[in-house]
Structure formats: structure tokens, C-alpha cells
């Protein structure tokens, strides 16, 4: 299929799916070929972080014998489309979960004039999977995040706006508030921005933090039509400090070092018995000399 036809298909799909609000995912709806090869499903998303970087992510899956499988360790290439020329941004491999990611420092890729920027990802396919590509477009947006303690309540204030030549606040948009944890992020709250694109959240006081009590708080407006996922993070010493002395394992039955009393009893018993043995052997030696 040519580029133009592809674009036509995708525009149609975009209109269909935009009502659900996930128009940024480029989905491929090719007819299944009569040959052996399988059609991949590509989900192309982007996260704009802290107004200064973009994470482009594509998840590739394929349906084999009715089971949806990940396409892992396959190369994909990301491009920025400027005036119909694809500028290479970089290439990565999909990981063991079938997801390929590319971080880009945001310099001038996203236009300041509130027009969408176009990105593309290509997948060359494998022996039994067709190659494919997906496109996505989004505009520059960011969340301004600040932290304050108001009336002894930890408060995070957010302003969500489309950034560029002028600031256009994004009103009535859902924002989710997380704290970063080791394996995943814990949701602390969610809400909707007001007319000026602002919202504030309360941070609970009992969240365990690192040694100094730091926690990383994340605010995210997820899967927005025109902007992708917009997120912002801030580190605050609002957590409960970690007590590393808890790591020390004291003498116990199950520890490496035995309890002192056990060690003492053992030494005493062994010394007494073997001491007697040596006394007797000493007597033997004396016996021999007589």
C-alpha cells in the first residue's frame, strides 16, 4: 500500500475514533492477506514530560492463532515529518514487552504556533509479520507544577496549558496525580481542570519516601486528543523518611550469626568434654613413658 492510501485510511479511522478520544493511536486496519504473513497492530503514543522532553512509544502486537502476542526485540525507527520529509530521530528495539521507546529532548520539534507536529514510526516486519508504519500528531502542551504547604496540608498546584506563542489553558481536562513507586506509580487522586486550566491536589502525609523523605510526585493528563499524554513531575521532601537501620539483621535462630547464649553453651560444653579427652590422652602418653 502506498503512502497516500495509508494516509487516507488513517484519516478515516481518526474521524471514527476521535469521538472516543484516542485519535492519537495510529492503528492499522489492513485486510488480512491470504499469504502466511501476519498483520501487526501498532499503537503509537507520546508523552510530553515537563515541557522539555518527549517519549515516543510504540507497542507492536500480532495475533497468532487467535492469541495476541508481543513482538519483542525487533527494530523500529522513529521519524519526524517536516514538509513530507521524514527526518530520522533514532531507532530502537522493542523490549520483551513488545514496546519500543525513544526519548527526545524537546528543542524545536514541537511547533510554537499551536500547530500539530507529525511523527512516524516504521517497523520493517519479520519473516512472518508484515512491515508497517504508524503516524501520530500532537501539539505542544505542558503542566506547570508547584508545591506548597497550605494550612499544613501538602498541596500541589497544577496549570495545564498548550504552550507556544501564547498560553492557551486547557480547561475541563482530566488530570491524574501519582506518586512514583518502585515498580509502578500509585494514584493519589484525579480531577478535572477548571476554566483556567488549573487544579490542585492534596498529597497525603503518610507516604514512605527515601532516606531524606523525598518522594517524586507526578501529574498526568492522559491520552489527550491533540496533545498525547502530558506529564510533569516534582520532587518534594513530603514523604516519611526511610529508616535504613531496619536492614540490619541481628543475631537470631535464623540469622547467620547465632545468639550469644547458644555460642557460649556450645563452647563450654565442647571445651569440657574434649578437655577431658585431652587429659586422658595426656595420661596415655605419660603411661607410655613409664
Amino acid at each position: 500500500m502506498g503512502f497516500a492510501t495509508n494516509l487516507a485510511w488513517r484519516t478515516l479511522l481518526t474521524i471514527v475514533l476521535s469521538g472516543i478520544g484516542c485519535s492519537l493511536s495510529g492503528q492499522n486496519e489492513q485486510k488480512k492477506d491470504s499469504t502466511e504473513k501476519l498483520t501487526p497492530r501498532m499503537k503509537f503514543t507520546a508523552i510530553q514530560r515537563n515541557g522539555d522532553s518527549i517519549l515516543l512509544q510504540v507497542a507492536i502486537q500480532v495475533r497468532r492463532e487467535g492469541v495476541l502476542q508481543l513482538v519483542d526485540y525487533e527494530p523500529v525507527a522513529f521519524f519526524y515529518l517536516k514538509d513530507s520529509i521524514a527526518l530520522s530521530l533514532g531507532a530502537t528495539l522493542t523490549n520483551d514487552k513488545g514496546v519500543a521507546s525513544l526519548w527526545i529532548a524537546e528543542t524545536t520539534l514541537l511547533k510554537e504556533d499551536h500547530n500539530p507536529s507529525l511523527f512516524k514510526v516504521t517497523f520493517n516486519g519479520t519473516e512472518d509479520i508484515y512491515g508497517d508504519e504508524a503516524e501520530a500528531s500532537f501539539k505542544k502542551a505542558e503542566i506547570k507544577i508547584s508545591a506548597e504547604e497550605i494550612d499544613s496540608i501538602y498541596t500541589i498546584k497544577l496549570k495545564l496549558f498548550a504552550s507556544g506563542d501564547e498560553i492557551l489553558p486547557l480547561a475541563a481536562t482530566d488530570v491524574v496525580f501519582y506518586v512514583k513507586r518502585y515498580f509502578a506509580n500509585l494514584k493519589l487522586g484525579e480531577g478535572t481542570t477548571d476554566e483556567s486550566g488549573e487544579i490542585s491536589f492534596e498529597c497525603p502525609r503518610d507516604i514512605p519516601g527515601d532516606r531524606f523523605g523525598n518522594i517524586i510526585l507526578i501529574a498526568q493528563a492522559e491520552d489527550l486528543e491533540e496533545f498525547g499524554t502530558v506529564s510533569s513531575t516534582i520532587t518534594q521532601p513530603w514523604g516519611v523518611p526511610l529508616n535504613l537501620t531496619d536492614d540490619k539483621i541481628s543475631r537470631a535462630l535464623w540469622s547467620h550469626a547465632p545468639p550469644i547464649w547458644m555460642l557460649t553453651v556450645f563452647i563450654v560444653l565442647m571445651s569440657v568434654v574434649w578437655g577431658h579427652y585431652f587429659v586422658i590422652i595426656y595420661k596415655f602418653i605419660k603411661l607410655r613413658k613409664q
Binding site: A77, D210, D247, K248, I249, W254
Partner: protein, 325 residues
């Protein structure tokens, strides 16, 4: 930037695959070093890929090897005895969601290169009392805080770390099986004969955190995948479960996650009356169970599409329940 052409993309692909191999090669010059001094690699029939080895040499590797070798690096034995600082890992198993899909069992076996008969994670069919309904009970090692197995090991081969995990060093283990006799939860298994370890597996330097490869005459068990955890990844059983039964996390952080849902550990235990199996034994397990209440699957679903041999295991429990209905 120029428009990339085909050759550039291919070279880039090769170069990037090196990155993957680099990580794998770190898992002990994985495919080569223990065979001989030379850079000879076991080549099996299959698609070959040219890669740069970490030493800067161009080598050919069978593509399948990239995927089948244990994916992560293991730390040294002495470091494996220290826990990951500031963490106390804990697991929550939601019995209301388990339908004996056994994806956890197969994922664990695949991860640790275990044969089908060896189960470090087993799914039992439990019935608490005659009136109660049977339920599926996935059982890992409980990594107890007062572990009866660690107490009795005469050579310190099994040990408890500061991060809560109980691991086995199968290079220290003498195979006396006292730990197996002492564990009240039947969680440990023994290598009665030489485990079928492929050549490439045998080359991996052993770490108590990967527990691979198995050795004859030693004991082994579920290890909560500390090698994955070190990288911030969840153990395979957690991610493999299609119903999100397993939640894994850090008690210090007070958060557990099953890959989709992330919840506060203390909250879920309090709200859903989380309990520990055989609490009165005083072993203080680190695995909590959420009672099989408001189940999302009827228990009989667990036997659907399962081989006869598996159904044999549960004869007498589900039949009895069915008769009474």
C-alpha cells in the same frame, strides 16, 4: 538529517541488537566463555545475526539464543546475600480472581528453565471446611520472616536477606534436605537426578538471585525473582497472570502492584481482610492472601481445557462439591 536508506537501517538494527546482546553477554559471556578460551560460540541451525561482542569482535549468533537465555544478570554470591537496601518485599495473592489458568506456573518454569514436572509455584485446590467452597490457591515460597528452613540449614546455604527474601545458594547446598523437612508449606523441591541443562544454560555464571542453572543434589525454590526486581521489573508470575491475581511490592513503600492495578498494601489488607496461610505456625510469611469472596470465576472453570493428568490431581475435591449441589 538525510532520509535513511535500507542499508543504514540494517546496520543500525545490527548495532542496536548488540545492545541487547551486551546485556545478555554480561550474564556471563553467556554463550561462549565456559566452552573454551576461544570466541567460539555454539551455533545451532537457525537465523544468524552478526553482532559486536562486548570485546569488539564481530560474532555470529543464532537468533534464538537472544531470547532463550535467562534474560537478566545475576549479582555475585556475596552481594546476593545482601538485600536490596531499604526494601521489604511482599506479595498479595487475590484468591477471588484465580481460575487456575496456570500461566504463572509456566512463566516461572520458563523463566528459570525448569522442566514441566518441577513446580516452584504450584496451584492447589483448597477447601477450608466441609461447607466451604473449594478455591484455587497459588502457592509461592512465603519468604517467611521467621523461616523454619533457614534455621535448620547446617551450612548457611539458604539465607534470609534484609529485604525479606529467602534465597538458596546452590553452590553451598550439600543436599541434606533438612530445609525440606522443616518447611511446613512443602515449597522446596530437590534435584534428584541431573537436571537437563542445555549447554548454553550451563555456561551462565550462577547467582542465588537468578537460581539458574539447577544443580543435581541441591534444593531449590521460588526466589521472588530478585534479579528482575533489582531492575524494577515485576517477577514473571505477576505479569503472566491474565487475571491480575498476584500483587507484588514493597512493604516499606506500602504499595503493591499487579502490573495494572497499583494499590496501597496496608489498605488492601485491611479492606479485604488479607490473611496469611497457617498464621498460627508463627513463621510470619511475606505472602498475604485475599479471601476467595465475590469470586469472578466459578471454581470449575479451573479444570476446563486442562490435561487429564492435571484433573487427576484434584479428584475427590471438586467431584464432592459437584455432587452436593
Amino acid at each position: 538529517m538525510n532520509q535513511p536508506d535500507e542499508t543504514e537501517i540494517n546496520e543500525r538494527r545490527d548495532f542496536l541488537k548488540t545492545g541487547v546482546l551486551g546485556a545478555l553477554a554480561a550474564c556471563g559471556s553467556a554463550v561462549c566463555s565456559c566452552k573454551s578460551d576461544s570466541r567460539q560460540i555454539q551455533i545451532e541451525p537457525g537465523k544468524k545475526i552478526k553482532l559486536l561482542s562486548p570485546d569488539g569482535e564481530l560474532v555470529e549468533v543464532d537468533e534464538s539464543e537472544l531470547r532463550h537465555i535467562h534474560k537478566t544478570v545475576g549479582v555475585s554470591t556475596s552481594e546476593a546475600r545482601q538485600g536490596i537496601p531499604g526494601k521489604k518485599f511482599v506479595m498479595v495473592i487475590d484468591l477471588a480472581k484465580c481460575k487456575n489458568a496456570r500461566k504463572c506456573v509456566t512463566a516461572c518454569q520458563k523463566m528459570h528453565h525448569l522442566p514441566e514436572e518441577k513446580e516452584w509455584l504450584s496451584v492447589k485446590l483448597m477447601q477450608d471446611n466441609e461447607q466451604g467452597s473449594p478455591y484455587w490457591f497459588p502457592k509461592t515460597c512465603f519468604h517467611c520472616d521467621d523461616p523454619p528452613c533457614v534455621k535448620v540449614c547446617p551450612v548457611d546455604a539458604t539465607f534470609k536477606r534484609s529485604d525479606g527474601l529467602v534465597l538458596i545458594d546452590n553452590e553451598r547446598c550439600i543436599g541434606c534436605k533438612f530445609c525440606m523437612a522443616a518447611c511446613p508449606y512443602s515449597t522446596r523441591v530437590f534435584n534428584w537426578d541431573e537436571p537437563k541443562v542445555s549447554d548454553k544454560l550451563a555456561c551462565i555464571p550462577y547467582s542465588p538471585e537468578t537460581s539458574v542453572p539447577s544443580k543435581v543434589g541441591t534444593v531449590e525454590k521460588c526466589d521472588f525473582c530478585p534479579d528482575m526486581v533489582r531492575e524494577g521489573k515485576l517477577p514473571d508470575c505477576v505479569t503472566a497472570c491474565p487475571n491480575g491475581v498476584f500483587y507484588f511490592g514493597d512493604e516499606v513503600e506500602d504499595v503493591v502492584t499487579n502490573g495494572d492495578e497499583t494499590i496501597r498494601f496496608s489498605q488492601i489488607i485491611a479492606e479485604r481482610a488479607g490473611y496469611r496461610y497457617a498464621e498460627d505456625l508463627g513463621t510470619k510469611p511475606r505472602v498475604y492472601y485475599l479471601p476467595p469472596r465475590d469470586r469472578i470465576f466459578p471454581v470449575e472453570r479451573g479444570l476446563e481445557d486442562k490435561p487429564e493428568e492435571l484433573k487427576e490431581r484434584f479428584k475427590g475435591i471438586l467431584d464432592a462439591g459437584a455432587d452436593e449441589k
